[in-house]
């Protein structure tokens, strides 16, 4: 195994740890909705909610970085250039994440000065990490780019997938720089902030996971390079062709000109198209290979990614994206429902698929199967679907009672939040949150054990080959 792939396994371990912290923080935050005053003045909602969101961003990012470190040596048939530096950056990344989490939990907030933004919290959703840590993340990404591009140059080989990946790393880095400035004008602040959030999540990340899934499909099903590269280009054309101006659905209500209502509505209505394409691609490939695979968990997570991305991101996004509807749904639990489904389907399932692929290779298991992965697959997906459905009920109630009927004031907000349908939904979200957490526990057990126990045939084959039985 290449050192780059050993580093990938470390990234996956860190990602799975943060995934667990994300779930705990999510359970704590959602308990606040059910029990007012929960951990008040100790770990307020704002802290647990921030931990929930930020650990999600970081674990997915670590999953992507790990996946690329896993596939680059396979794709370019050589060790990753600058691997020692990459290994050092991994530990710096982990240390920085731990320090930031400790500051979030124990310091929480500071006075209204630039120093607070540098050392405690930047207070901008998704990119709360203080500036010193944001510089650290920037350095990690720069080294990551150096590793990928350097390896391609040294290998004197750029495949179609690597070409897309390398171009995609430019906005991945460049857009993150928007995490630094603090603009006085909230309209302008949010204008650029959405460049970062939307063009990362609905463009750059989509391309990145598209590249990762293309590499995974070649390894998992033996799909031909010509087919995955053709599909990848179609996806890039559609994702960026619709997603760049789909950015407009965030510019409906922040002070920006009203032409964004039409532009944002039109292009974001088209955004499900590439996601539908991915479903067709995955189903076609699975059928073409008669669903034969030696790695069932990876195969199922790939399918979950294709369908979850389309339904969670595409369908649930479209449901609330037209401005005439968004006027009522924007900033309600309806958004939360879509957010959970989309992040899970588009990214989390893809990262889990790659982790299973990597484990099969690293443990030299001919077959990867068993009972535990099925339980974790079922519990995690039932958990997320339950949460998504429950939040949708709450969101619809909120849109009606707070927005449409109430007029969005404090009084209307309170009436929405205490509405019986809203409350039922929010309680059920917590219940399904625990189902999801149970799935996580089984997942970790499975990841630690799957493929380690060899079958009698495998042991015999290993003995014949002269390896350990």
């Amino acid at each position: 195994m290449f050192r780059s792939q050993q580093l990938a396994l470390k990234y996956f371990a860190a990602a799975m740890t943060l995934f667990g912290i994300m779930i705990v923080a999510g359970l704590l935050a959602s308990t606040n909705y059910v029990q007012d005053g929960f951990l008040m003045n100790k770990l307020d909602f704002s802290v647990t909610k921030m931990l929930h969101i930020d650990t999600m961003i970081i674990w997915l990012l670590m999953g992507f970085i790990g996946a690329v470190y896993w596939f680059v040596p396979i794709e370019l048939e050589r060790e990753t250039v600058g691997i020692r530096l990459a290994e050092v950056m991994f530990w710096i990344f982990c240390a920085a994440v731990a320090v930031v989490a400790a500051v979030f939990i124990f310091v929480q907030y500071g006075p209204a000065t630039e120093m607070s933004l540098w050392f405690i919290n930047q207070g901008r959703k998704y990119v709360e990490a203080p500036r010193w840590a944001a510089i650290g993340i920037t350095l990690v990404v720069l080294v990551f780019i150096y590793n990928v591009v350097g390896t391609a140059i040294k290998a004197r080989r750029i495949t179609g997938i690597m070409g897309v990946l390398m171009v995609d790393l430019i906005p991945l880095f460049g857009l993150y720089l928007i995490a630094f400035p603090s603009m006085t004008n909230m309209s302008e602040d949010q204008y650029w902030w959405w460049w970062l959030v939307h063009l990362w999540v609905e463009a750059t990340w989509e391309i990145l996971i598209g590249c990762i899934m293309a590499l995974a499909l070649m390894q998992l099903l033996g799909t031909s390079r010509r087919i995955v590269e053709t599909w990848l280009y179609i996806e890039v054309a559609l994702v960026l062709g619709t997603g760049i101006l789909g950015l407009g659905h965030h510019y409906f209500w922040i002070g920006t000109p009203s032409y964004w209502l039409g532009i944002g509505g039109f292009f974001s209505a088209l955004e499900p198209l590439p996601l539908l394409g991915m479903v067709v691609h995955a189903v076609y490939d699975a059928g073409a290979h008669r669903m034969k695979t030696t790695n069932k968990p990876a195969f199922f997570w790939v399918m979950a990614e294709a369908f979850g991305n389309f339904i969670g991101g595409g369908v649930f996004g479209f449901m609330m994206t037209l401005p005439q509807i968004n006027l009522f749904t924007h900033g309600t639990q309806w958004t939360v429902s879509h957010g959970h489904f989309a992040f899970w389907g588009a990214y989390a399932c893809g990262v889990l698929a790659v982790i299973y692929l990597a484990l099969q290779k690293s443990r030299a298991a001919q077959q990867l199967d068993g009972a535990a992965w099925k339980w974790s697959f079922a519990l995690l997906n039932i958990g997320i679907l339950g949460m998504v459905g429950a939040l949708l009920v709450s969101g619809i109630a909120q849109a009606f009672y707070e927005r449409a009927m109430g007029g969005s004031t404090l009084q209307a907000f309170m009436e929405g939040q205490t509405n019986v349908w809203f409350v039922q939904g929010i309680v059920m979200r917590l219940v399904f949150g625990f189902v999801f957490a149970a799935g996580y526990v089984v997942l970790i057990y499975d990841l630690l054990t799957i493929g380690k126990k060899r079958t009698a045939t495998e042991a015999l084959q290993a003995r014949v080959a002269g390896g350990p039985a």
Binding site: G37, D44, T113, K125, L245, W253, S408
Partner: protein, 198 residues
């Protein structure tokens, strides 16, 4: 067939991306001009010296902010420099106290506490907090609440005390007042115009 050639789709991917990026660049130049203070949709910071209302405009068929007569804030008129300084401090309060992880601004943030886009115009300040805090003005009531939220709860979900100083509270009130005057294409719809029953 050329449609099966990856190079055909690569050309499509590059061209569609470039076209969209160019369109986005043009729209961004126009949008930034519209949302700078004093632009078509975002008022100068000195709007905090004026009365602000939110009224239905039948021509555009949406609610819009209306700038009225002089209405000093905390009993004084802010010069452009003072207003800018207050806005800067107000924004730093919002970021340093992590407001966005409970509240929303323009609907963006977390959803545990009310949206603050038009919070300055919320009738609850006059109806609930002015009597509770015994403040003579809306701005005094808001500032007092922001400094001591635990003393003036309105329901079981409460805001924590974030050790906001008097100076910070005044800047934050000024910021909320300015933000309520931003043209937001009618969001939130009929804010403050419906009498709810509880």
């Amino acid at each position: 067939m050329y449609a099966e050639d990856p190079a055909f789709w690569r050309a499509g991917a590059i061209s569609s991306t470039l076209v969209m990026l160019i369109v986005l660049a043009f729209l961004t130049v126009d949008s930034i001009a519209t949302i700078r203070p004093g632009g078509a949709n975002v008022p100068e910071y000195t709007v905090i010296n004026k009365e602000i209302r939110y009224e239905f405009d039948s021509e555009s068929s949406r609610y819009r902010p209306v700038i009225g007569a002089d209405q000093p804030l905390f009993g004084r008129v802010y010069s452009p420099e003072q207003a800018e300084k207050a806005m800067r401090l107000g924004k730093l309060v919002i970021q340093s106290r992590n407001c966005m992880n409970c509240h929303t601004f323009f609907g963006n943030g977390a959803y545990y506490a009310p949206d603050l886009t038009k919070a300055w115009l919320d009738p609850a300040w006059q109806q609930m907090w002015m009597p509770m805090t015994q403040a003579a003005t809306r701005e005094e009531a808001i500032a007092t609440f922001l400094m001591y939220p635990e003393k003036f709860p309105t329901w079981s979900r409460q805001m924590p005390n974030l050790k906001i100083t008097r100076e910070e509270a005044e800047a934050l009130v000024a910021y909320l007042k300015w933000m309520s005057a931003v043209e937001t294409n009618g969001f939130p719809i009929h804010f403050g115009h419906i009498q709810t029953n509880k």
